[in-house]
Amino acid sequence: MDAILAQLLNGLDKGGAYALIALGLTLVFGTLGVVNFAHGALFMLGAFCAVTFRYLITLETVTVDPTQTTAWGTALEVRTPLAQTWFGDWGAVLIDWSVPLSILLAIPVMLVIGIVMERGLIKHFYKRPHAEQILVTFGLAIVLQEIVKAIFGPNPISQAMPTALRGAADVGALIGLAPGALTYPLWRLVYFLFSAGVIAAVFGFLRFTTFGMVVRAGMADRETVGLLGINIDRRFTIMFGLAAVVAGLAGVMYTPLLPPNYHQGMDFLVLSFVVVVVGGMGSLPGAVAAGFLLGILQSFASMNQIKSILPGIDQIIIYLTAVVILLVRPRGLFGRRGMMEN
């Protein structure tokens, strides 16, 4: 029982990441009809927003203190982070909490990147065949990741989580199990809650704002909405920016779990596409449900008890699930008929 609960929890954070990326992919596909292979790169760019933010707030001033010497007899260099000079003790707190704080940097940056991408390139491909959309966004993804590689280097850059969130939460105690029977790393819990929050925000935005209603109407029937004299294109541009922000935030918060590297976008992209298709092309609830479903299944499949019965299952569970679901349900869990079938 504990073990099953533990695996369920373990699946939630990964599921949250899948769900967030898949949600953005689906938004872009549903609104713009574009198959965006550069979406994984947006996740990666988000992660590097965190790296940049940390780099910026840990910029140091180096002063030489002639009164003190090191063991080698040279003058001691005193390094003081600028943040500390300016904000005093708050500076140290800032650095400690750099990952969550980078959200503040990531939101505007990702929004701009998304809008520039859409206006500069993607908008020319609305009516093009999907194969060409795939090629151009794939090319863009390569360009983005190579640029990141050129700036940040090929090696992963690990990001520390805030000290306060480093421990494990005794989840078991909360639900009446013996203390320590079921613990769960705090940051993973944070990630899950964070992704749930972002998902809720996106759904709320689409459901309860006029902007969101117009966009949803546009997803269902673009021409009619256009005929009503509403400038749907501009709204769709903003939706692309929003999708970029969602992917970016997913990337920012994932950095303590996986040190960012320039090619992580591609790794997540393939899985996210599987997630989107399993959920049903164009269905937002489908993307979220499939994201968590596959994350949790993956976590269960990596249990030793299961691996001993079905060797190698942890390696293929996501793909196997995708195959089974697609063969049983032709359009995924929540897919609509005729969507991307030809």
Binding site: L135, F138, G139, I142, A150, V277, G312, Q315, Y319
Partner: protein, 380 residues
């Protein structure tokens, strides 16, 4: 015999193509690409792309998992070397048969769906093969260390006639060693046969039915065609081409690793085909050559070469130009590749072959097409 007949136009194309392939060591020299290892890759990946195009270009099904068949072909060929003989023909034959069977199973299941659902099914099958090759299937694939020849291989057929040599053997054809240039010419001959068969498919009623499926599958059913076996046949043929290419990779270098089956390899053949021109005979070959050239040559450029290349630029600018250019070569060659994709899709949606057509039209009519003229889009 009907089997060997080609229309006059196709025969001419084949003859020209043969000339280009056979003289490859000559015309690649100015590009610095005339070493056998790379030319072998040119021939092998051209086969892969030609076969892929029979499925994607003719039938309209975008598979994202064709690297699996490439991998199966390689593994089969290496096992043929290990168990039977170092002769290349049985290895190729077995690889084509096994990858064909593999494609039959995967195609049968995947073709139950169309559009992106088909693409994701093929991707899922290929990724499963890749992941299993690394883990559970290690006895067959030798996992991360790759399947390779050893001094203890049984090689039943070979050793029935000769005694075991001192070192590791190399692949051969009727006793002639296939390495370096001879290896390239062997691949070239196989490429020409593969190209010829693709020409036959393109010109045949079968090829016309595949085009019909791509153009309007519903009309095909109401016209009396059972479209699924047609698509499955195309799938199996393209799987066999991939297996053949995989086997040739093993012939030129008797080693088979799982990374050959990864989705990046599947994506590469998609890009080759689109870059060259979907649905054309020559296009995928050009796409394959261009991408392999970039991969091998651009990645080997370094600042020293660039510095010499930009010698003509005066000194103050020289270092800046070299510094900028160096971002696009060597480690950064993929940046150039990515930019190339974007540029080709934006300006030449039909791939290289459309560029060739436009230039051809330019010469025929004598007046250039309107700048920025968009291609007529078929209604969706």
């Amino acid at each position: 015999m009907a089997l060997f007949q080609l229309s006059r136009r196709d025969a001419l194309i084949l003859a020209l193509f043969a000339l280009v392939v056979v003289t490859m060591p000559v015309w690649t020299a100015p590009f610095g690409a005339n070493y056998p290892g790379l030319m072998q890759k040119f021939a092998i990946y051209a086969i892969f792309a030609i076969g892929f195009n029979i499925l994607f270009g003719l039938t309209g099904y975008l598979s994202f998992g064709h690297a699996a068949f490439l991998g199966v072909g390689s593994y089969t060929a290496v096992w043929s070397f290990k168990l039977l003989t170092m002769d290349a023909l049985p290895a190729l034959l077995l690889a084509v048969v096994i990858s064909g069977l593999f494609a039959l199973v995967i195609g049968f299941l995947s073709l139950r769906r169309s559009g992106i659902y088909f693409s994701i099914l093929t991707l899922a099958f290929a990724q499963m093969s890749y992941n299993l090759a690394y883990s559970v299937l290690t006895p067959i694939t030798n996992g991360e260390t790759s399947l390779q020849l050893t001094l203890q291989d049984p090689r039943l057929i070979d050793l029935a006639f000769t005694t075991r040599g001192a070192g590791l053997p190399t692949a051969s054809l009727f006793g002639v060693t296939l390495s370096g240039l001879s290896g390239f010419y062997f691949c070239a001959v196989v490429l020409l046969i593969a190209f010829f068969f693709a020409q036959k498919v393109f010109a045949s009623p079968f090829g016309m039915m595949l085009r019909g499926i791509k153009s309007n599958q519903m009309r095909m059913s109401y016209t009396g065609f059972n479209t699924r076996p047609y698509a499955l046949t195309a799938f199996v043929i393209s799987g066999m081409y991939a297996g053949l290419a995989g086997a040739l990779l093993a012939v030129t270098d008797p080693l088979a690793g799982a990374e050959r089956m990864q989705w990046t390899a599947s994506g590469e053949v998609v890009l080759m085909t689109i870059l060259g021109g979907v649905g054309t005979l020559i296009g995928p070959v050009m796409g394959a050559w261009l991408i392999k050239y970039f991969e091998n040559i651009f990645s080997s450029f370094n600042e020293g070469i660039l510095s010499r290349f930009f010698d003509f630029i005066p000194a103050p600018l020289h270092d800046t130009v070299v510094a900028i250019a160096s971002k696009f070569v060597g480690e950064g060659w993929q940046l150039t590749l990515g930019l190339l994709f974007v540029l080709v899709v934006v300006f030449l949606p039909g791939g290289i072959m459309e560029g060739v057509r436009r230039i051809g039209a330019l010469f025929r009519r004598g007046n250039p097409p309107k700048a920025g003229a968009m291609r007529v889009q078929p209604a969706e």
